[in-house]
């Protein structure tokens, strides 16, 4: 046992030395290995090298803490002009920035390069639910807000909660604090509660519901994307049902604020190359992501819009003042 421990220490020492000796681009995953941000860094990093966009393998470092806040503060305070640095980001980054969960830091302290894939938001009901469309459900809530309770994998005020509220806002329903939402431990738990009839709807990501959709235990009322998701063509979008809401858990990158515009453009071009590659399409298919490519200035303004909307909603339900 001691031997193993010593070996582990020795290995990490060697790895540590190796890391400081490399001068390739670095991708910070603001979480422990295994999660979505880690996946983003490792896949993008690998594909960048495989398709020849960088000449040395991208080094991935994990910097977990504060729901991504630790890495954000590190980039803002210590690496603000590092043009060899990219950081994994997702919708959770935007939500937390909007809800002031990064200790006062704001979205304009970094630059968002782009998103190249997304886990689409979905609203599902149990197979035997009386609601056949999103419209049915919204009408029921308008008639009696207490009649439909939602379960989701994020805490109250988190992205899963906000998805429902965005749909209701779009339907001109203003009393959004009266909508019941319980945050449980992850999407699977939320579905279990819905199948069991304790909640009437479940709000989450497409990847969370795939297994249950295929087994026929739940029906998806709507997917919150611009167009129907490949592989799930029978699930209608909220948009085609008359609710102009797009809510996806996008996966992308941000870079430090003070790099030159040329460097920023270069990262955008590289990211676009990854998005267009076959390798990335395979990685997306294997991990339940839908195509969602927005790169450059277009993406920056989109993120700003998402954050502004989140701020408004969060204020309305009292998550922030």
């Amino acid at each position: 046992m001691t031997k193993r421990l010593l070996r582990a220490l020795a290995t990490s020492a060697v790895l540590g030395l190796g890391a400081t000796a490399t001068y390739a681009a670095e991708c910070i995953a603001p979480a422990n290995p295994g999660g979505g941000w880690d996946f983003t860094c490792r896949q993008i990093g690998k594909i960048l090298f495989d398709i020849g966009q960088v000449d040395k393998p991208v080094q991935v470092s994990n910097m977990a803490g504060g729901g991504g806040g630790l890495a954000f503060s590190h980039v803002v305070n210590e690496r603000a002009d590092d043009n060899e640095l990219i950081v994994a980001a997702s919708q959770a980054t935007a939500t937390r920035l909007a809800q002031n969960a990064y200790a006062g830091m704001t979205a304009d302290q970094v630059r968002f390069v782009g998103a190249i894939g997304a886990d689409p938001g979905v609203i599902v009901v149990a197979a035997d639910s009386p609601y056949q469309s999103l419209g049915d459900m919204v009408d029921a809530i308008k008639a009696d807000p207490g009649s439909v309770a939602f379960a989701g994998g994020s805490a109250a005020g988190g992205f899963d909660h906000l998805k429902v509220l965005m749909v209701l806002k779009d339907a001109d329903f203003t009393d959004i604090t009266s909508v019941k939402y319980i945050g449980v431990d992850g999407g699977a738990d939320a579905i279990t509660q819905t199948i069991g009839g304790f909640t009437q709807g479940m709000t989450g990501d497409m990847s969370e519901v795939v297994g249950f959709l295929q087994s026929g235990e739940v029906r998806a009322l709507a997917v919150l994307t611009e167009e129907r998701v490949p592989g799930f063509e029978d699930v209608p979008t909220a948009k085609e049902q008359g609710f102009d809401v797009v809510a996806v858990n996008w996966r992308g990158l941000y870079v430090p604020k003070d790099i030159s515009d040329a460097d920023f453009e270069a990262w955008g071009a590289k990211l676009q190359a990854v998005a267009d590659s076959d390798e990335w399409k395979e990685a997306m298919a294997a991990n339940g992501l839908a195509p969602f490519t927005k790169v450059g200035g277009d993406f920056q303004s989109w993120v700003d819009g998402v954050i502004a909307d989140t701020v408004d909603l969060s204020k309305e339900i009292g998550v922030i003042q």
Binding site: G186, A188, T192
Partner: protein
């Protein structure tokens, strides 16, 4: 044929050379920990959890290691019971009743071999039971909403406090202290800090591992310092180890009966291995003809019965722990802590969400059983040797492992101080005969229980009758009340026998 496919998946995980190696190491360490007086399975697992993390093992590997330690400790507990008349852990208490008289009569070897086989049989029975029963239990997941979960957690507290303890008021007090500790930190719903006194270290709440190591391991050392190592010398010599075939064959009926009893006792949330061995012994004594049976005077069946019972209960206790997230005993409470730290939430969805974890665990339990049989029958002499390690070597080692383990886990000196505080609390509570397991349970389940209650209140608009709105919820409430109150009246009927004083 689902079962076979699942088992195949399990063995594909568990049969990798590294996992097998971990199982052997775990079994060996576990047997030693079980054999050492005072260091029971709960303590053993608690001490080793931080080490498993600092080795950087993945979820399945750490689970295999820890459950091997758990099963090993259940096996090992009998060694010091038989040779020293000191139970290595509470469930092994019943084994002293006939084991020690046998050893004094010069049959220590027979007692160790018979109890080794009984342990094997009981544990094997329980593992198979776990395999068959757990998937069925996991299907009831869809019946469980916030109200049912709240009642279920309540049931865990009340049965652990009721059946497993000797004083309801003290157990209830300990549970409440645990629940209070669980409230420290950020409120899940609003994000506001509670009970932190402005201390940043307390913002994330108190890590249950700090509490477990403090309450169990550190308190153990304090107890030793006070008693100054009395009663640590070997009492009975072990000469030769042979296989008493005739008594083993006669004991098969005993093993089957006691394994069934033990398993049922284990499956009941909160009852656990102590109850299993106790019930098995009492029932077998009745079966064999009460006082005239020679039970308590060195009857080999009196060694077989409690060992089959307590090992079977140990396996049975894994059923509610894995499928409902409710631990059936102190040790499974510690294992629950391990799972939660590994980001695996035991509960009704575990079998569908993480089949590789569950079936890998079950397969490794089967493997551990055979490893343990091999270790505990032919090699039992090695473990007997270890009993001669003086306490002044052993206990500082325990202290050192506790400190290194906790520090490597959290890297915070504050947690070390906290651990010592918990050690002192543990020592005080032992003096006052207040059980410490309910405190752990409170810290572990408190947040979940609170979340369940608050979700129920959101769904029902604050109507408290919602908590009793389904048959399952009412049933759980009834069992919870019964489990807590009934032992008050039954206590004089089933008196726990004390260890024989020599």
């Amino acid at each position: 044929m689902d079962l076979l496919a699942n088992l195949a998946l399990g063995f594909s995980v568990a049969l990798s050379p590294f996992t097998l190696f971990l199982a052997v190491v775990g079994c060996f360490l576990g047997t030693i920990i079980g054999a050492l007086p005072g260091l029971g399975p709960s303590n053993g697992v608690a001490i080793l959890i931080p080490l498993a993390f600092s080795l950087g093992l993945d979820a399945t590997s750490s689970l295999v290691l820890m459950t091997s330690v758990y099963y090993g400790a259940m096996y090992g507990g009998r060694i010091s019971s038989i040779l020293l008349n000191i139970p290595g852990d509470e469930p092994a208490l019943m084994t002293t009743l006939d084991g020690y008289p046998m050893a004094k009569a010069g049959r220590a070897g027979d007692a160790l071999v018979l109890s080794g086989f009984a342990s094997f049989f009981g544990a094997l029975f329980a593992t198979i039971g776990l395999m068959l029963l757990a998937p069925i239990l996991s299907r009831i997941a869809y019946q469980f909403g916030p109200a049912e979960y709240f009642a279920l957690y309540l049931l865990a507290f009340s049965t652990l406090g009721g059946i497993a303890s000797s004083n309801q008021a003290k157990a209830a007090l300990a549970s409440c202290i645990g629940l209070g500790i669980a409230m420290i930190g950020l409120d899940n719903q609003t994000g506001m800090p509670r009970l932190t006194g402005g201390n940043l270290h307390l913002l994330d709440g108190i890590d249950f591992l700090v509490a477990i190591v403090g309450l169990f391991a550190v308190a153990e050392v304090f107890i030793f310092i006070e008693s100054h190592g009395r009663g640590s010398s070997i009492g009975v010599k072990l000469d030769k180890v042979t296989l008493p075939v005739r008594e083993l064959v006669r004991g098969i009926g005993t093993m089957i009966r006691c394994s069934v009893i033990g398993f049922i006792a284990g499956v009941l949330p909160g009852a656990g291995a102590s109850l299993g061995s106790f019930l098995a012994y009492v029932a077998e004594k009745k079966w064999r003809g009460g006082e005239s049976s020679g039970f308590g005077k060195g009857n080999p069946q009196g060694v077989i019965a409690p060992e089959a019972g307590n090992n079977s209960a140990a396996g049975g206790a894994l059923v509610p722990m894995l499928t409902l997230g409710v631990p059936g005993s102190g040790t499974t409470a510690v294992l629950l802590a391990l799972l939660m730290t590994l980001n695996i939430t035991p509960g009704p969805t575990l079998f569908t969400d993480r089949p590789e974890v569950v079936w890998g665990l079950i397969a490794s339990l089967l493997i551990a059983n055979f490893v343990l049989l091999a270790m505990n029958v032919p090699l039992v002499k090695i473990f007997v040797k270890i009993l001669t390690v003086p306490a002044w070597v052993l206990l500082p080692g325990v202290m050192m492992i506790s400190f290194v383990g906790i520090f490597s886990l959290t890297g915070s000196y504050f947690d070390l101080l906290l651990m010592i505080v918990f050690g002192i609390i543990g020592w005080l509570f032992r003096k006052l005969n207040i059980p410490t397991v309910p405190i752990i349970l409170g810290i572990l389940l408190g947040k979940h229980m609170e979340d369940a209650l608050r979700r129920a209140m959101i769904l029902s608009d604050g109507d408290w009758t919602y908590l009793f709105s389904s048959g399952i919820a009412i049933g759980l409430w009834a069992f919870a009340v019964l489990g807590f109150v009934a032992p008050l009246f039954l206590r004089h009927l089933i008196k726990k026998p004390q260890a024989v004083s020599d």
